[in-house]
């Protein structure tokens, strides 16, 4: 590459990094605002707004609901998606390629359309309990993340290693536990991380299945923002961001960010 092209590339990369970080830094700064308006740059600092989060109307039930739905749907999808990915990778399944495409296809489909389709579908069969419908709906949100990551992870796994372990004296379950599980653990963790975040942040599907008493945290947050945006919401957003950062740091320590770059395309 010519020198000028390299300079352009670096300028774009730095601009992109600043642009991507800007909203995250601003929300964190605004959460310490000493006044009820978002006074930036800050003239002082106050942690006052953090204390007000727990008094937001309906905050705790919504947080609890979102955590439950995200944890349960991720757990179920990890089991189902990993089993499916193993079957696809072993190559003993007729039509494995088509099925692999079908498994990840919800990722490319508009979430809102899935939301109204599920609303119609659940109503048609009289399945209307909000908690249960949210959980079932979130399986479709989380399963594609697990399937995509585990299929990519298993593509690099050599199944003959299990046979080799058996030849060396392992039982079949022992071989799976000591060879396959460690090799796939990083993919499994990344799959779980992204599927948890996708469920926890979902709005377009949840909005059609929630009712007045059963609202997930994103639904509640959009409602707060539309009604009365004040630094309390910035404080809540900052805490959610901090949680995300901790999850990412833990994942990076365990498996490394580079691996995520490879599996996220």
């Amino acid at each position: 590459m010519t020198r000028a092209a390299i300079v352009v590339c670096w300028v774009m990369a730095i601009a992109l990094a600043l642009f991507l970080l800007a909203p995250l830094l601003v929300i964190a700064a605004a959460s310490f605002s000493p006044t009820p308006v978002f006074d930036l740059p800050l003239t002082g600092a106050s942690t006052h707004w953090y204390g007000k989060i727990s008094r937001l109307d309906g905050f705790w039930p919504s947080l609890l609901l979102s955590l439950q739905i995200a944890l349960f749907s991720t757990a179920i999808s990890l089991v189902c998606g990993t089993l499916a990915a193993i079957a696809i990778a072993r190559g003993k399944l007729p039509g494995a390629g088509i099925f692999a495409t079908a498994l990840v296809s919800p990722l490319m489909m508009p979430g809102l359309v899935l939301g109204i389709a599920l609303l119609q579908g659940f109503r048609a069969i009289g399945f209307t309990a909000p908690w249960a419908t949210l959980l079932v709906a979130h399986l479709v949100i989380t399963l594609p993340y697990v399937a995509r990551t585990m299929i990519a992870g298993l593509a690099r796994f050599d199944f003959t290693l299990i046979e080799a372990a058996r030849t060396l004296g392992c039982t079949y379950p022992g071989g799976v536990m000591r060879v396959m599980v460690p090799a796939l653990a990083p993919s499994f963790l990344i799959a779980g991380l992204f599927s948890f975040l996708a469920s926890f942040d979902n709005y377009p599907v949840s909005i059609f299945l929630a009712d007045v008493r059963t609202k997930t945290l994103p639904i509640r947050m959009l409602q707060y923002i539309e009604e009365a945006p004040d630094p309390t919401l910035a404080a809540l957003s900052t805490l959610i961001l901090a949680g995300t950062v901790i999850l990412l740091i833990v994942s990076d320590r365990v498996v490394g960010l580079h691996r995520m770059a490879g599996t996220s395309d």
């Binding site: 590459m1 809102l112 991380l193 959009l222 959610i240 960010l257």
Partner: protein
């Protein structure tokens, strides 16, 4: 059954058993995808072509025959096209820098991609409403730099919408491009230069075709995400810029017009399927 008859049928069931195990492994996922994804979408198609009197195309006629609704469809496409184009123009050169970065610099750059990717869409859109307020930080900066004299109205404009959408969907463009650029062998470009190609010729005839799979993946992903975005237009522009997504939500949550909402949903679904089909076709094209 005698013992001698046993060995022959044993080989066949072994293959069958492996196949049965494989089917058993995919069954739970198949039930989820078929029952909670494919079937409801088919049902939605059904809802869009019936009304109280039976089968009808009235919802589609209303949607595709009214200038206002055609404008709404165009708004969605425009949001998708502009977001995709701008995200591509920023991401493509940046991906090359990212691929050249080594050591801690690379870790920092990758972290700036993953953190926003993992961060909540609602949090980011909310942050842009703060950034773009008339007394917000963008206006204050522009005024301090003497670029503008009075604060300009940015929030609830198309500029705000596009800036927010590009910001939120950008990681989905750069990651697939980066994944391809990182594997690019620099000797191809060197060989082209040795054989007399100009830098511009090398770029258009060697580098661009080699990185095309990443571009196709990124463009397809960002377009299908932004064309159907709901949270971003709701918070950054509102009623002034109705899109298919915001109209569908309204038809279901406020107007109680499921037939019309379903028809709009099918159109949005059609756009998404067209993007997937087109990108699949383009990536298979022999070079």
């Amino acid at each position: 059954m005698t013992e001698a008859a046993l060995p022959a049928p044993v080989a066949a069931p072994a293959v069958d058993r492996e196949r049965l195990t494989a089917i058993g492994f995919v069954l739970p996922s198949f039930v989820i995808i078929a029952g909670v994804f494919a079937l409801p979408l088919v049902l939605l198609l059904g809802v869009s072509i019936v009304d109280a009197n039976g089968l009808t195309l009235a919802h589609y006629k209303r949607l595709l025959g009214t200038p206002y609704y055609l404008g709404v469809i165009w708004n969605s496409l425009r949001l998708g096209l502009l977001t995709t184009l701008i995200a591509f123009l920023i991401s493509y050169p940046a991906a090359f820098a990212l691929a050249r970065a080594r050591g801690p610099l690379r870790s920092v750059l990758l972290a700036t991609l993953f953190l926003p990717l993992a961060a909540s869409v609602i949090v980011k859109a909310f942050a842009w409403t703060i950034l773009l307020r008339s007394d917000g930080i963008v206006n204050e900066t522009l005024m301090a730099l003497g670029i503008i004299e009075d604060p300009i109205r940015m929030i609830f404009t198309e500029t705000a919408l596009i800036v927010g959408a590009v910001n939120i969907f950008l990681p989905f463009m750069i990651l697939p491009i980066y994944a391809i650029v990182a594997q690019l062998d620099p000797r191809y470009a060197e060989a082209a230069a040795t054989l007399g190609a100009s830098p511009v010729g090398t770029f258009f005839r060697v580098i661009l075709p080699l990185t095309l799979p990443g571009i196709i993946a990124g463009v397809a992903l960002v377009f299908s995400l932004s064309v159907s975005a709901y949270v971003v237009p709701t918070l950054l522009i509102g009623e002034k810029y109705p899109t298919l997504a915001t109209m569908i939500a309204k038809a279901y949550l406020l107007a109680r017009e499921p037939g019309f909402g379903a028809a709009a949903g099918v159109v949005l679904l059609g756009i998404a399927i067209a993007v997937v089909a087109l990108s699949a076709r383009l990536s298979q094209e022999p070079k």
